[in-house]
């Protein structure tokens, strides 16, 4: 292996001690290192109390663990202040928060919403809802066959009446990188805000929301070595401050009378009800793990693994990779079809050979329809995968057509 490519510490991931299969479905959810699992358990064993409420030391310690997680996220994505970091259940609930609290409040029938055709349903359906409730026009920004967005298409879609643009930094189907700088600058030039879905980018690419100048960024902990049940919404402070609460109830108020309430300051205004403090603490452990290995080292290793799998898959007759011809524009995601074999049968055969992949429409039906593909199989890689696992995958894929009865 090349000198610049680090070896993964497989022993850090307990699941690999019992999982015989090659796990190539990290775009669905990543595996968790022991430190993350320990952090979640430690919270319940040593700190369990309701954070932000009690005045006794245990509750203060729980609050501190929760707020330390917020600071870690703030630093990890380069936000200006922890007040810009709202914990949610997952990326979907983060995007819905923006749709309800920003979209429904600010959009009118004169306005336009631009959504990329490559969006996961989670960054598409909330905007369909906002368009239908506010009367705003919904326009889809179309990508080319390699998942790329042209300057002309960006210009065609982002018009002076555009108020919001929804775009995934990395497609969960093609792994292609959206030209975020261009899209954000085009949106800002007409006064629109941009909702970036970072679910597939934050776990794999160094993120700096300030240099990106994104208005909102959503991502999920569970795709970045962290636990399920925690997501993050980053929002520019100015925007978040002007937005009304999404959910109302406990822990998001300053004072309440029978007539009404004064809402808490950021970010608590958006965190109604008891929070997932243990999950947040475990997300901090995941961020610490990224820092320990170095996200640059992970990126390099993932690029190396992507090239290895891309080259191998490209060489198999009857196999077609969806998206870019350049492995660098796949971010560890290789969606593919096999001539004459339905993706569910591909997945079934890989499964019997001990390889876990995803098959279907990947919650991105409009993109597949746009690309003229009914469904696809998807292998997705992460830092901890090995070339041996990819070899097993490639060997199995090579045998599929023969095993389905083709000569």
């Amino acid at each position: 292996m090349s000198e610049n490519i680090i070896d993964p510490r497989r022993e850090d991931f307990p699941i690999f001690e019992c999982l015989g299969a090659a796990y190539l479905d990290s775009a669905a959810t990543s595996q968790k290192p022991r430190c993350v699992i320990d952090a979640e358990r430690d919270f319940y064993e040593k700190l369990n109390s309701n954070p932000l409420r009690g005045f006794y030391p245990l509750s203060l310690a729980a609050t501190e663990a929760y707020e330390n997680a917020r600071k870690a996220v703030c630093r990890f994505i380069g936000a200006q202040s922890p007040k810009e970091i709202v914990f949610t259940n997952n990326a979907t609930s983060a995007i819905n928060l923006v749709a309800y609290s920003y979209g429904l409040e600010n959009l009118t029938p004169c306005d336009r919403i631009v959504v990329s055709i490559a969006e996961h349903h989670s960054n598409m359906l909330p905007w369909q809802m906002v368009a239908s409730k506010t009367g705003a026009e919904l326009v889809y920004m179309k990508c080319g066959e390699h998942g790329e967005f042209s300057d002309e298409e960006i210009e065609r879609c982002i018009t002076p009446n555009t108020k919001l643009v929804a775009i995934a930094a990395v497609s969960n189907v093609t792994g292609a990188h959206a030209p975020l700088e261009k899209i954000i600058s085009a949106a800002h030039s007409v006064g629109a805000v941009v909702m970036v879905d970072g679910a597939q980018s934050v776990p794999h690419l160094k993120t700096d929301v300030q240099s990106l100048d994104a208005d909102f960024l959503a991502f999920s902990a569970h795709k970045m070595l962290g636990p399920m049940g925690v997501g993050v919404l980053y929002g520019k402070r100015r925007l978040l401050e002007e937005m009304p609460p999404f959910l109302t109830g406990g822990e998001m108020i300053e004072s309440v009378t029978v007539k009404g309430a004064v809402y808490a300051e950021l970010p608590h205004k958006f965190e109604a009800g008891t929070v997932n403090a243990a999950g947040a603490a475990a997300l901090k452990a995941a961020i610490d793990y990224y820092d320990g290995v170095g996200i640059d080292n992970m990126e390099r290793r993932e690029l190396f693994l992507t090239k290895y799998a891309f080259d191998g898959l490209s060489a198999i007759p009857g196999v077609h990779i969806i998206g870019s011809d350049d492995h660098k524009n796949h971010t560890g995601i290789l969606s593919f079809t096999v001539d004459g074999v339905h993706p569910h049968d591909i997945s079934e055969i890989l499964s019997s050979d001990g390889v876990c992949i995803r098959a279907g429409h990947h919650c991105a039906q409009p993109l597949l329809a746009h690309l003229g593909v009914h469904a696809s199989a998807r292998a997705s890689l992460m830092y901890y995968n090995t070339t041996q696992e990819i070899d097993r995958f490639l060997e199995s894929v090579s045998s599929i057509r023969r095993r389905m009865g083709y000569r």
Partner: protein, 141 residues
């Protein structure tokens, strides 16, 4: 479940060389079926005369299991009465749930090749799509 043995010859043959995947210009009725878990769809066409299924065909996109299952089903029900077709489809669903006896599975003829689906919960919806659609079509008569 090992798919090396699961994708048996009967299933592969019906998938590769379906006898009923065609148009049926003189069909008397049709019904669409969708597998919501994967988006696969299937349209069933039947030619029914005097309560007897004279002929049938299907169209649509699906995995080997859903395609073979539809083809085997049409082979089995052609020439049968609607009541008999309904009884067989209920028997098939019983087999997929793992509740059918060997004698009952024998009645299903080649459809018995799909009996092991009962051990593959993720693929049950693929196997039953055509049969579920048939049930709806018969109920609508």
């Amino acid at each position: 479940m090992d798919s090396k043995s699961f994708y048996n010859e009967v299933l592969l043959d019906h998938n590769m060389n379906p006898m009923h995947k065609s148009s049926l210009p003189d069909a008397t009725c049709r019904m669409d079926g969708v597998n919501p878990s994967c988006g696969d769809s299937l349209t069933l066409h039947l030619k029914i005369e005097d309560g007897i299924i004279k002929d049938g065909s299907f169209s649509g996109i699906g995995c080997a299991i859903s395609q073979a299952s539809a083809d085997i089903m049409l082979e089995l029900i052609t020439g049968k009465s609607l009541d008999e077709a309904k009884r067989l489809s209920e028997l098939f669903l019983k087999m997929i749930q793992g509740d059918a006896t060997d004698d009952e599975i024998d009645e299903l003829d080649e459809a018995g090749a799909l009996r092991d689906i009962s051990h593959m919960p993720a693929r049950v919806k693929c196997a039953v799509l055509a049969w579920r659609t048939l049930n709806e079509l018969i109920s609508a008569q």
